[in-house]
Symmetry: C2
Subunit: 471 residues, 2 copies
């Protein structure tokens, strides 16, 4: 009887969700209130929620209660995978990208294009405290050049962090860089020659193929499934067909599509590339921003031959303005240090000392727990507004981490036109076209949920959504 | 009679200098003491010193008195110009350079290879104060990405500084970079394609031709006179012969040879290159560190067509560890901003705000005056030790700014051998070979006088000097 009772309660809640009476992100009654209001035992109330949770309809948030979570009923279809790549092509979309950014970052914009978590989600006071401390303690040291590979304590702290993603590295395996982009740029230089072909995901963060362009490289865009990332069979064929010399992938919550490659695929990918002696540059800049219970592993954690160049940074998780990243480059470490010496010399000394101090005192883990919780509930809030305002035919990504949403409109939708229209209303988002070197994704856009959802942002999303109803 | 008297006193002092009784850097009697000891009027004493000063034998230091200055009698010959370049060659000396630096920067070294002024010459307390202030005032802002071209106030301050070197630029002409090397790297990318030939000085700072190497460029080394810099006629011939696509020169106190191109040559150089539509990348990182009464002008100040890409930084003059540089790139400004967006994204926000604050409050000019004075007298002190300990046959540069000395030994001297020998004694200097892409300068070395001359440093120079007596 007991069993029937909790199922009955659960089914009613499920119907409320299906009918839209309970919406994505809505908070459910507390277990105690459910028990009282429905006249059931506490145990039954708990079972009700466990059951709904196991069906993926609701979720518990620590110290907060139960919330309506996405379900297939709620969600539109996922965006489609890009069409197959026909050629290894030279890249040239820089002018369009420059144009987009120059227009996006004007004063007075409501920007849905931001590339980092907002200030309210960052530990401002604690970082200031760490900075004051470091300046007081080492006023001399912070004025001097730091060693080329970076602050020894910071490298140690990063080595310790690697435990979370399945790594076990030492401080001398780590090289500090000015953000993840510098790490990627050095990694690409370390493993390619002008004219080489490099495999990347499609869609992908534009700086990745712009760096390729400026190095005289060709890119081969590997279509990326919005949930599971790149298709390994496809990659294997491409390797032969295009004589690929290196791969650069973002296995965890890539930008803009938000897919997370299953750990089994990561292992297979690393083995496939190792067997062909192709280096893998792994960009894990979003890896810490997971919504689930565990941090997804990294390709680097499956790397037995030192062929994976792991790159990450603190720009998306702690202090964007500090411009601090790092690489763990396996057998390419010495080469990357030499490249850094010539192209960069060294990285800002003060910033390294501050972040090292912050990490050493255990403040990063604590902050990350808050940040993940905030971004996750932020995502639910943004999704509610997007679902309510965008056309029903829109296909929308379901990232399980990070802070960007990828939206695909009908094939004929001209997102560039809406981009211009929105700019006139002082609203910014990123048009999909700049995430490919080959003019794909002209019916797509990227929205960021890195900033808290203010009324102004909510209205901006609604306005953009409406524009797509009559594009 | 009066006239004869001061000349007579002056001649005797001159003889003391010629015979080595008064040595380079020695302090002379005060004007009052000279008057008393020689039984001449104060006016005669003053005239004596003015006369010697006008002959370039002594010099006045503000609030300090008169000192023996270099004269042709004191000084050994200048190092010779490099041999003519025979080919435009691909570059490949990176391994040697990496080896040198890895061995130089070991703990416990007495380093005569340092690449920046020492801490005692930097305004540590005032920069700390500025940093605390900025963190307190803008705790949020310093965590956010700065705009790609850099902090607007810092760009304004740099634009104002340009007045000193003959410029008149606006803040939107300035792009902030992570040190001068990043500025040079972006500039090279902006004006060349892989395979192009670029003219550089010889000898030159190794990172310059390493960057060329990694960009797949060829370098044409233009021999550089230790006093007047490159030979323009030679350059003009090389432009035709090697189809040079860009030039990268350090007209003011270049590293390592310390030459300063006369302003008339700078003007001719700019006109020559403009007439052939060849961009000039001007590295002016040492320009503020002059020992004379006026700041040398820059090529940029003669640039009418926007073809000069001026690059500099605060690394050699204020805060090495801050890694802040900038470029004023004329018609290439937009291209450099686009390249910076893709390769770098943005520069450390906090460092920019601190330096902007420091400059805005007029602290930079004051600091520079002290720094110049300190480096100048440091140079005289170092020279005294070098002259007393190196073989007489050594040819030694006479920089009129900066903080490096270039020493050329007999042709057959194997500086690399002595480099290794010195390292065993925990003494570091930079062997000349790494300042050319073509294996020249194996009988040369660079010593830095950026650090105050402690007893340990003095002994180290003496020890190195002795090693060259019996190499």
């Amino acid at each position: 009887m007991q069993k029937v009772l909790y199922q009955e309660v659960a089914e009613r809640i499920e119907k409320l969700i299906q009918k839209g009476s309970l919406k994505l992100g809505d908070k459910l009654l507390s277990v105690r209130a459910l028990s009282q209001e429905q006249g059931v035992s506490l145990s039954t109330a708990y079972q009700t929620y466990y059951y709904l949770e196991s069906k993926g309809l609701i979720e518990a948030k620590p110290q907060s209660g139960y919330y309506v979570k996405f379900s297939t009923q709620h969600f539109p279809a996922m965006p489609s995978m890009a069409k197959e790549t026909q050629v290894a092509r030279p890249v040239s979309t820089s002018e369009m990208i420059e144009d987009v950014y120059q227009r996006l970052f004007q004063p007075g914009m409501i920007n849905l294009a931001v590339g980092s978590p907002g200030i309210p989600f960052l530990p401002v006071a604690k970082l200031s405290k760490a900075a004051h401390y470091v300046i007081r303690k080492q006023p001399d040291k912070i004025l001097q050049y730091e060693e080329v590979k970076g602050n020894a304590n910071l490298r140690l702290q990063i080595a310790r962090l690697s435990f979370n993603w399945g790594g076990a590295v030492g401080k001398d395996d780590v090289v500090i860089t000015a953000g993840c982009v510098e790490a990627l740029s050095l990694a690409i230089k370390a493993v390619t020659q002008p004219g080489d072909a490099v495999a990347i995901e499609s869609p992908t963060y534009h700086a990745i193929f712009q760096i390729m362009e400026s190095q005289g490289l060709k890119v081969v865009e590997i279509p990326c499934d919005p949930q599971h990332g790149i298709d390994l069979q496809f990659l294997e064929n491409a390797i032969t067909r295009f004589a690929i010399k290196a791969c650069l992938f973002v296995p965890n919550f890539n930008n803009p599509i938000g897919s997370c490659m299953p750990d089994a695929n990561k292992k297979k990918l690393v083995e496939l590339l190792a067997s062909k002696e192709i280096p893998l540059i792994e960009d894990d800049i979003y890896g810490e921003l997971y919504f689930g219970t565990n941090r997804p592993r990294t390709c680097k954690s499956f790397d037995k031959k030192g062929m994976v160049i792991y790159c990450s940074s603190f720009s998306k998780s702690l202090a964007p303005g500090y411009r601090l990243g790092y690489t763990i480059a396996g057998k390419f470490t010495e080469k990357i240090i030499a490249l850094k010496r010539m192209h960069v010399v060294s990285t800002n000394t003060l910033a390294q000392a501050v972040i090292a101090h912050f990490l050493e005192h255990g403040r990063y883990e604590l902050h990350l727990r808050n940040l993940r919780k905030n971004l996750h509930s932020n995502w639910l809030k943004y999704m509610q507004v997007i679902l309510a305002s965008f056309p029903e035919s829109a296909k929308i990504s379901r990232p399980s981490g990070g802070f960007v949403i990828w939206i695909e409109l009908n094939k004929q939708t001209d997102v560039w036109k809406i981009f211009n229209k929105a700019l006139k209303q002082k609203i910014g988002f990123v048009p999909g076209e700049i995430f490919s070197a080959s003019g794909k994704f002209s019916n797509c856009l990227r929205l960021s949920f890195g900033e808290p959802l203010t009324k102004a942002r909510e209205d901006a999303i609604k306005q953009v959504g409406r524009m797509f109803h009559h594009p």
